[in-house]
Subunit: 128 residues, 6 copies
């Protein structure tokens, strides 16, 4: 249905427009349908649901990606996404630190390093 | 420091008082210090930090436990905890459904079944 | 789009009709949309794609579920699904044994026990 | 080579003779070669190597199984194995508690509960 | 037994001769026995078994490595291995996309990127 | 309590003084409290406990980090830590090889490569 893709794009625009464009480009020649699925299922179906605000959704996603490990690019994208929908930097750091309790210190430390990289990239961009 | 334990107990009291008493009892004769660590580190150090409200902390924890798998008892406790600090049932279900995107459908389906069990237990208790 | 749900049901009918009905029933009152997502995304979008036959798809799924762990119900369903789309029992056991190499012996041993349970259930059912 | 199987049996005899017999029996009719692989590769090849004593090997295994999760039966077997090759109960509990740092509190708490079950089974057996 | 090593080499020659030589070289001075174990157990014992064809075995392995995460080099090797035993590129991409369902989108996206890298390396090599 | 931090620093000094200073520096401006937690909880509370010697503790940690995956920096630090508290290189390699049994060959191979990197760094440093 056209609608799911359109709704997905609208949600992606709110959450992380640049990251999603990069993803689409990277998948274009190898697995374009996976790119379409990303728009349609996570962003068109799931993030579009009522019942949980986008800020809470991004908190859940940052927590899960930190806990799962080996998700660096996605975690970077969702840290930016969390900032874009109303989290502040300290809230993001708190979510990641909390993962030390549930997934162990190595995941939390890696997550904080990834957040640091994101924040530095954003600061550099703002300084230009 | 006395304070960490006291602060931890205070936070546990807000989040899931019954679950933590059961945990302490279960650990009492086998690893009492692990019980003390649970009070002091997660609840005394981490959940006590400013910068993220308790409701957001429980959303992050429900997300992580669902994604990690093999955490049934902890997930049950934190679903109750999330309810106790202001989440409603639909919000919890939304967090768990969202994990289908990041950790796959089996984790999300298991998480929903666990939530269902918790809600039924609570309803039974309220009916008595 | 109506089509996705219809296509998903058709694929589910081929792969594991009983398991999916049980899943839908279990999710009905707690997270019916997750049930719908299962029909639409995995079975309507993914399993419906050309380019890989259903038997190979079930081999991939049995492998992944064995490797991930804490997926007992899903693994049971997909072992039956694999049988329904043309795998024989020995092929399924071979896939699971092979996981000892990639995910370690505990996952492979658990997987074999789960397959044994499925085969015994099927044999009992056929004897009635 | 006969030798690997014989060496494996000898090591299994030292580490956990009962558990391995139960495993062999359970696998006999469904995947007997996986049973043979368990004897030959982990116990014939790996545990037989010089360079690390059996007690240290069991400490490593208890740590890994606790961290990985969804390994209850194997963890029970290796807790008994650790006791059989010279660990005392406190050492085993310490290894498991330490996993709170690396794999999070839920894995450590589950591990301690499993150890408790093992110790109680052993105590019951000794009281008969 | 000489046989296992010889059988393993023969299977490795069919599946991914270059990757296995690189692995042996890398392990030579640090853990040569682990290199030998790789030849003997996975390739001499497991891949040599009747009951499942090599193409299906590689599909199972690509699925599992994608789902487990943090397995980049092994996944690259087995994508090449899958091509060498009869999978086409589209089948490999389909297996990886399917993992979005069972292990979440981040694992599937990473897997597709790794496949892309492999395909580009092969195309470059063929163009020289 | 001052004591926990002081005890933690003392244990870190024994285990891996350089790694911990690097960690503190890296966390200083982004999440200094996570740095403090690392000193206080793992090293002040856990590693300080009687009942398990430091060498056994490092064996457990190297095993767990190898098995969990996506823990490269932490594994490097703990391989050095294991050497600092009395493990020799062969013992460390044995622990990592053994993980092939419990977490699969990819984790063991990655672990051995990481150990190789650590040993080469140490040899270079000693040659200067």
């Amino acid at each position: 249905m056209e609608d799911r893709y359109a709704k997905g794009l609208k949600n992606l625009e709110k959450i992380h427009p640049e990251a999603s464009k990069a993803l689409m480009n990277n998948l274009q020649d190898i697995a374009p349908d996976l790119g379409r699925f990303v728009v349609e299922f996570p962003y068109g179906d799931v993030y579009d649901r009522p019942g949980l605000d986008l800020k809470s959704r991004e908190i859940a996603t940052v927590a899960a990606l930190t806990a799962l490990g080996d998700t660096k690019q996605e975690l970077k994208d969702h840290i930016k996404g969390a900032l874009n929908v109303g989290c502040n930097r300290q809230e993001i750091i708190e979510v990641i630190i909390q993962m030390a309790v549930y997934a162990g210190f190595p995941r939390a430390i890696n997550g904080v390093y990834i957040a640091k990289e994101v924040f530095e990239e954003l600061d550099e961009k703002n300084n230009i």
